[in-house]
Amino acid sequence: MINFHPDKQMLELHAQGQLPLSLSIALSAHIEYCGQCQQQCQQLTKALSVEAFSDNSAPAQQEQALLDDLLSNMLSDIDDLPLDTGINLPSSVTVTVKEKQYALPQVFRQQMLSEWQGIGKVSRARLDTGEGKARASLLYIDADGEIPQHTHKGTELTLLLAGEFSDEFSDYKPGDLMVMTAEDKHSPKTKQGCLCYTVVDAPLYFTKGLSKILNPIGELIY
């Protein structure tokens, strides 16, 4: 049972195609786990399609002329277009970290992962999403691992893909999606180990006394 979902606004922006790639990946993956959000997203998409296609007014003459040209060009080339076979890229995608293999949601199938890097029980592989500010990664924490208490300068999104973890607030299961802001402090720990997808839009700042020395790890982890 998934307990943590994206809020309505986020789901709506997702259905509109208005979220950046890093967040769109998170929403798409969550939806693969969560029938409830999948259904909501389908309804939103339907409503958006009605909205987008409801205006039946004829375009200005100049626009219509451009569209007419486009149609005749398309019709003359269209016979040469190969029809889509419907055979897509690999339909399953897996990742291996510390000799454990995990199946990932479909949305990851074309995403390029950098090499795994890590300190102790924490490993991270970054995705190349090409976005300046936001950093998207897969984060793996070994059994009995934890991340020192930290706040976030910006916003941090975590989607649990496999395993479990808990923090001061709750226990989390695969499919749970959490968004934490600058005010939230937490120190996640895991008993069995876990694989997460994370997006942060600024470096993490660790707040707990001793682990201040670990501050540079924030850069590495995310």
Partner: protein, 214 residues
């Protein structure tokens, strides 16, 4: 511009017009509208009917153009969006499943995905196409049934599981976990020669299973 149409598609298409005296552009009822669009879609899907495609183009192109203006902010890009979207309507028409979504919803999905990829190109100078990975079109069920490689891997995996345990362990280690022979030998605490011989036996057995299946 001469539009060609096959005999069969001509018939199917004329039925549409005889039964529906009102043109799709003038129809007020959403239900009639969707039915009309679905008939055009099936003419494109089954007969590559260009006249039906021209009807779909007439209905959707001004709307996609307006959407593109709003999102992409450039006349040239809006027209690109019209072309990219409607090209996909043509090449994917046979994958459209009317039981899963209305034509308008399906076209919207294609348009939104395409627009997402175009925006990335504009904003991040990235030539990637992730839109269809993020929002699967409504055709993935059919796609898997047609995917022979997928079926082949499924039956191959079944045969791997039928191998004797020691051979299975080695075949899975090399081909599924993608370990090197050396890594696998260390992991199983056996000499590398044993890995090689079990692998050879396992692969020979797999080959004979697959030949029997064909």
């Amino acid at each position: 511009m001469q539009i060609n149409s096959t005999k069969t598609s001509q018939q199917g298409y004329d039925n549409v017009n005889h039964n529906q005296t009102r043109d799709v552009m003038k129809t007020n009822s959403d239900k009639d509208n969707n039915e009309q669009l679905a008939l055009y879609m099936s003419a494109v899907a089954n007969y590559q009917d260009k006249r039906a495609f021209a009807k779909l183009f007439a209905y959707f192109s001004p709307k996609i153009n307006a959407f593109g203006h709003q999102r992409l902010n450039q006349q040239g890009l809006a027209l690109d969006l019209v072309q990219e979207t409607l090209t996909r309507v043509w090449t994917k028409a046979h994958l459209y499943n009317p039981d899963k979504a209305a034509v308008t919803t399906w076209v919207f999905t294609i348009m939104r995905n395409q627009c997402f990829d175009m925006l990335r190109k504009v904003q991040h100078n990235r030539e990637d196409s992730f839109g269809d990975d993020i929002w699967q079109l409504f055709d993935s069920d059919n796609a898997q049934e047609d995917d022979n490689d997928f079926m082949l891997s499924a039956s191959l995996l079944k045969h791997v599981d039928a191998l004797p345990p020691l051979q299975k362990q080695v075949v899975r280690g090399i081909y599924l976990q993608e370990l090197t022979q050396q890594e696998l030998a260390e992991k199983l605490h056996i000499p590398i020669g044993t890995v090689k011989s079990r692998l050879r036996l396992g692969l020979e057995k797999l080959k004979s299973y697959m030949e029997q299946a064909l």
